[in-house]
Symmetry: D2
Subunit: 304 residues, 4 copies
């Protein structure tokens, strides 16, 4: 008997998968694979199931029914290089093991994430925590020049402090958040998938999404291909319908003429007899469109 191995992931071990201008993801070690999930589920279910289902069906069943514990039986250890700003979001995922490069112990990594003039993003007018289209190039060039100036001064000041003998723990205090840090990050597959579900979402910040894409589409797909496929089908590309939304869909599929009334009773339209959707009503409309319905309160072709 030997350890479970994933030949496709073995090939990736040690490779630096580039992200952003100077970041990377590198697989260092791992334990388990699709096979371990099946093995763990079968301990729970006892002998009875062995012949009945093949592995793929079992993994998909577990994913569909949110039986999450078998996915915790796989573990992966990554070496990351990430801007501190992105790391601030990353570290909020608490169920993981972390060893970060210490700027108390060693001189800070001399690299900061820089923005290409074409990559400055405009504040989204609708979504307070999002960005939208990119700014024009002339503005971008001015912004990138100032970014370089600021990063240069920060580097100089840090260097001066070190030279004058300031303790590293204090010298680092004004480093920009764009400074790269490195860490070993170890996590089980269930928690990694949860991280990916949140960080692959379009509302996640572009920088962390870039890491999530590499982790999902390169690393997890190579490591546990059956699980990745099930995750895409039952989580990433799934949709949740609330009690209110179920009622609206039910009306549309049985008595379409009552749909407006149902929507109004559920607070999806602005008050006072308006045909305009509330914020939640707009979100509902987007889902209905994906389900192939003509949204009664938002004429086709007229996105709101």
């Amino acid at each position: 008997m030997a350890r479970v191995a994933s030949p496709a992931l073995d090939e990736l071990i040690g490779q630096r998968l580039a992200v952003l201008d100077d970041g990377f993801v590198r697989v260092v070690d791992y334990m388990g694979g699709d096979e371990s999930i099946v093995q763990a589920a079968r301990v729970s279910y006892g002998k009875g199931t062995k012949q009945l289902r093949e592995d793929r069906g079992l993994i998909r069943y577990l994913m569909r029914h949110r039986h999450t514990t078998p996915f915790e039986m796989c573990e992966i250890k990554l070496h990351l290089r990430v801007p501190m700003d992105t790391w601030r979001q990353w570290i909020r995922h608490r169920t993981a093991n972390v060893n970060e490069y210490s700027t108390r112990y060693s001189v800070a990594i001399d690299a900061a994430q820089r923005t290409d003039p074409a990559e400055w993003r405009r504040q989204s007018p609708e979504n307070r925590q999002g960005s939208s289209t990119n700014l024009d190039l002339a503005t971008g060039q001015a912004l990138s020049a100032r970014e370089a100036q600021l990063q240069e001064l920060a580097r100089e000041v840090y260097q001066e402090r070190i030279t004058r003998g300031v303790a590293r723990e204090q010298a680092r205090k004004d480093l920009p958040l764009s400074t790269y840090t490195e860490a070993y990050w170890k996590v089980d597959l269930h928690n990694l998938l949860h991280f990916l579900e949140l960080r692959l979402d379009l509302r996640a910040q572009r920088e962390i999404r870039a890491y999530a894409r590499v982790l999902g589409e390169t690393v997890v797909r190579a490591w546990c291909p059956v699980t990745w496929e099930a995750f895409v089908d039952y989580h990433l590309q799934s949709m949740s319908l609330s009690r209110l939304e179920i009622a609206v869909v039910h009306a549309l599929s049985t008595q379409p003429e009552r749909a407006m009334e149902v929507a109004r009773a559920s607070g999806l339209l602005k008050s006072g007899g308006s045909l305009e959707p509330t914020r939640e009503g707009k979100e509902v409309g987007e889902k209905l469109a994906l389900l192939g319905f003509v949204v009664p309160w938002s004429p086709p072709g007229r996105p709101d």
Copy 2:
């Protein structure tokens, strides 16, 4: 400035809310309420939002978009009396604080959960981990008599061991799983709702569901009424549609004649041109019916 209080929950403090034949749930202490969730969310969002939304809308927005951290800001401490068999399921929820009655330190609680003759449940033929209808009364009476005999012998043997000076930690080794235990259980609202989502599900075992109902419908509803309502709308009575299910609904609402083809391509029908659904196909059929669709592969009125 003073602590956040929930007058409706204050009234419940100390009351034993009965569950099963001899169990209970008792609220001992708590921190926060609906108001604390809003307060925490506003720290995240900064000053800008104060005037813009009212509290109910904000709580519903957080629930709808799975912004879970503000719900972690409320905490509750309960005194529970639960059969050890149920406790074995309960304790699998790891994100909680626990102090359980120690049968090493003290003599075991002299009470075991008994089954009424009318309450013996038949093994479900379809769902390997479920039960279905109840057994007939004559059988139930025989089973309850044997239950009493076994519990009586277990009590005698335990008592003998204690009398003969056996260490309590060893004397307890053959207590039946039906023996009641007590514990203080402290949990934050987010994790309590997650517990309730799993344990109010119809597939959860009837005994733990009895506790979950009291915790949800009596305790949480009194403590955080706005959160409870949002939880019901966006979680308890919600439905998740997979990538495959979205495709089937889309077909039904736009080109119903293609729905069978889509379902077949997604593996929802048995192979070989069959019109019979697979196990997943049946589950999909149940959801479609709830959405008001005529399920193409399962004629109405003929449940499978």
Copy 3:
């Protein structure tokens, strides 16, 4: 580059290491080893340290100074067979991943832990949660006979319920706590060592200590020998001295005649000028003896 391997642990994979009358510990998979701890620590400390210390010294330094995160970088997955009574203690360690054999899904494991007539333990008169010497053989034989009778009835009743069609989830309700269960248990090395520190303690119950010994002395010692040695030196065989104990030792090593006075002021002697130690005073006395001091309030050779 390849995964870190531990040849000594590779040899153990798949072997059932027997514990109690019918239990076992079996290593299923693992990630990392002593080498990974060093690797993780060096990410934290940066390049500067590579030449300065060799690995053993670094691991001992980390252990001595409670730098725990590098030890979280190793992970192990075990297959366990444990009486439910012991499992109730085991599962209280929350930072681990678990898949337990389901007696809802499958018929319960037909084995219960039995007590040899010579192995019945007497309740400790001093330590309310402990046991002391064994009971005499005649008593033990009577107790073992009654144990067999109870376990036999429990098996019969369980079997009857299954035969009559009772749902497995309900049929199991009166199984004795001595019934064996099985589980996959996955844990990182830091949390495993914490488990071992608590469960190798003489105050831990004998049954779980039997498992802890195999886990520590066979599994961890083979897997991470340098870490195991450091753990023994800095944790298992260490001693903690409180502020009060430091004061007493200081008095004994500088002005022995003042030691009684210091002890009295710290509440280690009973009030009213007594020379008798309090409960805490006895514990302090045991430590002083281990440190080679003549305990002033407990004449040598007269253990209390």
Copy 4:
């Protein structure tokens, strides 16, 4: 029956306890107190103990024997204002609930931690992750002037980005780590004490120690005075002796002439018959001195 209250902590609720130049700690809410710890311990121990011990003795017993779960029964919620650099250390304590001010959603807090010219610390020559004495005032003034220049430029650049319409999530990327952030931080008493044990240590960074002092000496002392006292006695001012150290103390107290030999055999002296201690040997020497022993390898009055 009513919630447990701590009148001394009630008085602190809402007050901003100042830390550093512009930070604070503010108690927002809490649950429980010394009384809850006793209550939880008594559930574990059953009725038998009620009369036997008074509360103070029980709390001290629990603390001395590392019975940690009753301390998890108290919870506190704090509003913090902390430089991001300090927050990076703080957030590594994973067992807590957090809502941080979002600089994606709102404009960043316009305050950065500044260093007084007299407060620049020299890198410790011995301890790679520490600082030692302060730098001279002239150097400090130069460093503080440059700090002001850098912080001023960072503020300008951030403001420009916001003005030109850059998304907040991107505009913040070069904020200095000294920028203040705010958060709600909710934690149970056991984990708070663990945080304090690590962050009150002299090796912790001065900035986070300033917060830890307020949390310990003002907040916890007011909230749970008996627990705080026990924590000081059994943790903060305790000392751990390793297997090697126990052997050295034993030698010193029984056969002082053998102490050097024991120390040498344990690797506490440099190899080759040297009388010079290794790094670990120096640490042992410091402990021996605190215990009142003359350290054989380090003549009194000659600190190494």
